[in-house]
């Protein structure tokens, strides 16, 4: 192995020490293999599919393309940090209700991307949804039910706000 590094990441509101990592290790691998947070998934290793999406300092990133050591001092949110176990967020519940989940492998990444989208754009158009989520590949659903889930949340949040 390369030299063992010890650094500290700020993940889902907790400080997590990373030991036994090598300096070039990706954030995805550190989250999954060092910190036991396996919600983010690896499916292409080159930033094409979005399965590994997490939020770093309010920015949606592919964690397979981020060096973990470069995220020191930044706030990292993974799918495990979106809501407490058993109490899904509105986006998560909408995915379940709308039939937006089949095999579910792309789902954690999409959950992160949809939260990010709706935080920035509360009432997205169909084109905005498609463009914003085009970095997340789903092979099962053909995307129709995912778009429905996003629209359900947008409508519910708008109604709640008024």
């Amino acid at each position: 192995m390369s030299e063992a590094e010890i650094y500290r990441l700020h993940v889902n509101g907790e400080r997590r020490d990373v030991t036994d990592s090598w300096v070039g290790e990706s954030l995805l691998d550190v989250l999954r293999d060092r910190l036991g947070l396996v919600g983010a998934k690896g499916a292409c290793e080159q930033g094409e599919c979005g399965s590994c999406s997490v939020i770093v300092d309010d920015e949606l990133v592919c964690s397979c393309l981020v060096m973990a050591a470069s995220a020191v001092g930044q706030r990292i949110v993974t799918v495990e940090g979106i809501a407490a176990p058993g109490t899904p967020s509105d986006v998560q519940q909408a995915f379940v209700d709308a039939g937006a989940v089949q095999c579910g492998f792309c789902t954690p990444g999409l959950i992160m991307a949809v939260h990010d989208l709706l935080d920035r754009t509360p009432a997205p158009t169909d084109t905005e949804i498609r463009e914003e989520l085009a970095g997340n590949v789903c092979r099962c659903t053909g995307y129709g039910r995912i778009i429905d889930a996003v629209q359900r949340v947008a409508v519910a949040r708008t109604e709640r706000a008024s």
Binding site: M1, S2, K41, P88
Partner: protein, 773 residues
């Protein structure tokens, strides 16, 4: 989008029963990231494994020197063909594929050796350090050369995997109108997102092994693994690891045997996980095919005869090539009547990547040919393409060119008519005008590239319809097993049915709730501690495992009725389930089903078998298939004829589903299947040059994204099939099959409007150069 109302099928069905759309039992875990996929499973003291693969399409292995690998700290094992204790080869139909290449490698990516080490990085370095000397041989990369015998056999089983002819009716019949063409279908990848991964845990003493694996068929895997390990089948226990999609690519063995071999050798748990690049090499793909087809018809367009020659490139090993070929040739007429036929089918071996199952399984390749032919025939007869299809549409009682009668519900004309009745897109090219009055560039071909000029875009419409066989064929008894147990008013179901995302874990409890009137239904672990459920493929699990769960629940219900009858002085024969009650309609007697089972345990296991099918004789005659489903598609596309860019605007479809047991799941299968059909039409192809894959990654192998996939408008044709145990047909494959030719036909239609001639577009995927050059 047409979403079927929840109670459309059964009127007053209670939520959670058949005909409604309850949410997935694994849904919350999947959205919260806590669902355990096979790549997420670990064990204490676990080592990692990795595979060394051939860089050559065809070469002799002169020597393998592992000494440098052993010098690396943390390397625990290096294994090759010499370390396989049992059968040296595996395979679904014929066992022709080596666990590790022994003397010869036959494709780029063939496993040569495997290592185990303390971590993945050490594995990677060990693989690099393995020194293999090859004597490179002249590869066979031309399927026609395999047929012609122009190349020495690349495998002891020869270069032809299967040759099958079909001769039906009068082979010399002719028609007033004759159209013909040669069609090519590229190699498509299933591209499931959840990469191959497994964990093997050896039993103490090495007498057995437990494998956690993402697969489509636990029991078939077990049989092949046990044979290669030299262990009895009951010493190999398989547990379904969470499956991140399958689409046919998990029907064959990939890393199963390697992982078990390493774990047994080291007496420690071992994990293996493929990268995306390795996954492209590590599983079978959709067969590339070349199909010549000629249709004879009357002057009004009634089909008189089809002639076809189909060549399927199976790659280096047989996998399911012979069954894929049989699907293609036996369904060559499409969903249309055809009294006479001469079809010649070849599945051959080459030094390309091995090919096998992918959603649609042979029917896809045949459909691109026959649907393109139907459009040519319509043009030649000056008949509308929709009218031509309806004129020839198959009905119940018509026969395949194998002589097999189609006994299922066959609403082909209804599918076509209902598709035609669906609304066309209401937005013009480029969508509704933006505030600046211009088009929405994201809705133009080329999208964010902003290359297209809206005034130059042409809109086209195309049609496709198809037939798909359901379940396995040619005398194979692909039965399914299920167990139903009731204890303290709680139902537990057990089966080995692989849940790959399709939603059988949602459907099975719906069946139990409907049959038993009890809402609390739980699922046992999916593993090999019960009989086989067959494969999650061939659109078969709703029918087969649904049939098995239904049968097990009915057996339990009979026991409950006997118990209730004897306790209450009733006749068990007169009892029914009404919602959550057991009732005797004549007297109005009624009791809650859970209360009726209080203190009782009932436990029944059932197998469901479909009626036997037959093999084909030398003339391709027989009844090889179990059942059939039908679908029609209409595609609307916008095309930039100068740049060769395509934007699919809408897909409309009406699908023969028998009965929609979970309408939301059916819609999910329709939309997802169409996306894969779109991919084959305009995006997806594995490129091999001289036997070497050139685009085995997601940057170069293009998958449909949110921006590529248009809205789908769908109608479900619900005519319950009396031959199906629940009235429902499988729905997974049909959406993929005729969506592809419909999209290509729409591109042709657009191009015809440009110059009155258009382009033949006889090859999928359609590339920009095929359109604009």
């Amino acid at each position: 989008m047409t979403i079927v109302e929840e109670t459309a099928t059964t009127g007053t069905a209670r939520h959670g029963a058949l005909g409604t759309s309850p949410t997935r039992p694994d849904g919350v875990a999947k959205v919260q990231g806590s669902f355990e996929f096979s790549s997420d499973i670990s064990a204490d003291g676990c080592l990692w494994g990795a595979t060394l693969r051939s860089p050559h399409p065809y070469a002799r292995i002169v020597s393998i020197d592992p000494s440098a690998a052993w010098q690396i700290d943390g390397v625990q094992a290096v294994i090759t063909a010499e370390d396989v204790p049992g059968q040296m080869t595996y395979g679904l139909i014929s066992q022709d594929q080596p666990v590790f290449a022994g003397d010869v490698v036959r494709y780029v990516g063939e496993p040569v050796a495997a290592v185990a080490a303390d971590d993945p990085e050490t594995c990677r370095r060990a693989i690099e350090a393995l020194a293999v000397e090859y004597e490179v041989l002249d590869p066979l990369t031309d399927a026609e050369a395999a047929i012609a015998g122009d190349h020495p056999p690349i495998h002891p089983d020869g270069n032809v995997i299967r040759h099958q002819r079909i001769v039906c009716g009068d082979p010399d019949a002719t028609g007033e109108v004759v159209v013909e063409g040669t069609y090519e279908i590229g190699m498509q990848d299933q591209a499931f997102l959840g990469l191959e991964a497994a964990l093997a845990i050896p039993d103490p003493g090495g007498k057995g092994v437990e494998l956690h694996i993402a697969t489509q068929w636990l029991h078939e895997d077990r049989a092949q693994i046990a044979a290669c390990l030299g262990l009895p089948e009951d010493a190999v226990r398989l547990v379904l690891g969470g499956v991140g999609g399958a689409f046919g690519a998990r029907e064959d063995i990939s890393l199963q045997v390697h992982t078990c071999l390493l774990a047994l050798r080291l007496a420690r748990p071992v994990r293996m996980a493929y990268s995306r690049a390795e996954s492209f090499l590590g599983h079978v793909h959709r067969h590339p095919a070349t199909i010549w087809m000629r249709h004879h018809a009357t002057g009004t367009g009634e089909i008189v005869k089809i002639e076809s020659r189909m060549v399927f490139d199976g790659g280096a090993y047989a996998s399911t090539s012979s069954a894929v070929l049989v699907n293609a040739i036996t369904l060559a007429q499409g969903p249309y009547r055809c009294p006479n036929a001469v079809v010649d089918g070849w599945a051959v071996r080459t030094n390309h990547l091995p090919c096998g199952a992918m959603r649609g399984f042979g029917a896809v390749q045949a459909c691109f040919a026959y649907e393109t032919q139907m459009d040519r025939l319509a043009a030649a007869c000056d008949v509308d393409p929709v009218d031509l299809r309806i004129l020839n549409a198959m009905r119940t009682g018509d026969t395949l060119i194998t002589g097999q009668p189609v006994l299922n519900v066959a609403p082909v004309a209804e599918c076509i008519r209902e598709t035609a009745a669906l609304p066309l897109p209401d937005e013009p090219v480029g969508g509704a005008p933006m505030p600046d009055g211009g088009p929405d560039v994201m809705k133009l071909p080329g999208g964010a590239g902003r290359t297209a000029d809206a005034s130059n875009i042409v809109r086209g419409i195309g049609w496709g319809a198809s037939i798909k066989n359901l379940m396995y064929s040619e005398a194979f008894d692909d039965y399914s097993t299920a167990r139903c147990r009731i204890e303290d008013g709680v139902v537990t179901l057990k089966f080995a049915t692989a849940e790959v995302g399709q939603g059988f874990v949602t459907l099975a409890p719906q069946i139990a709730r409907t049959v038993l009137g009890i809402d609390d239904v739980r699922l046992d672990r999916i593993d090999t501690l019960i009989g086989s459920s067959g494969s999650t493929s061939a659109s078969r699990q709703t029918w087969m495992s649904g049939g098995a769960v239904n049968a097990a629940c009915l057996a339990v219900r009979a026991k409950i009725f006997e118990h209730v009858a004897s306790s209450n002085g009733l006749d068990a024969e007169t009892l029914l389930i009404d919602g959550t009650d057991i009732v005797e309609p004549a007297t109005g007697w009624r009791q809650d089903a859970v209360e009726a089972c209080a203190g009782q345990t009932f436990d029944e296991t059932a197998e469901y078998h479909h009626p036997p099918t037959t093999e084909l004789d030398e003339h391709g005659q027989g009844s090889p298939h179990t059942a059939f489903a039908f679908v029609a598609h209409r595609a609307v596309v916008d095309v930039d004829p100068d740049l060769g860019l395509v934007k699919v605007v809408q897909i409309a479809t009406a699908q023969d589903v028998g009965r929609a047991l979970n309408p939301l799941s059916v819609i999910g299968q329709i939309e997802g299947g169409i996306a894969q059909g779109l991919g084959l039409a305009v995006m997806e192809e594995i490129i091999q040059i001289d036997g070497v894959i050139r685009n085995g990654n997601f940057t170069d192998y293009l998958l449909p994204t949110f921006l590529d996939m248009p809205p789908v408008v769908a109608t479900l044709i619900e005519e319950p099939d009396p031959l199906a145990p629940l009235g429902a047909k499988g729905v997974g494959e049909p959406p993929t099959i005729s969506s592809t030719p419909a999209i290509v036909a729409a591109i042709r239609d657009a191009l015809r409007q440009v110059d009155g001639v258009g382009k033949p577009l006889h090859r999928v995927p359609v590339r920009p150069g095929d359109i604009c050059l």
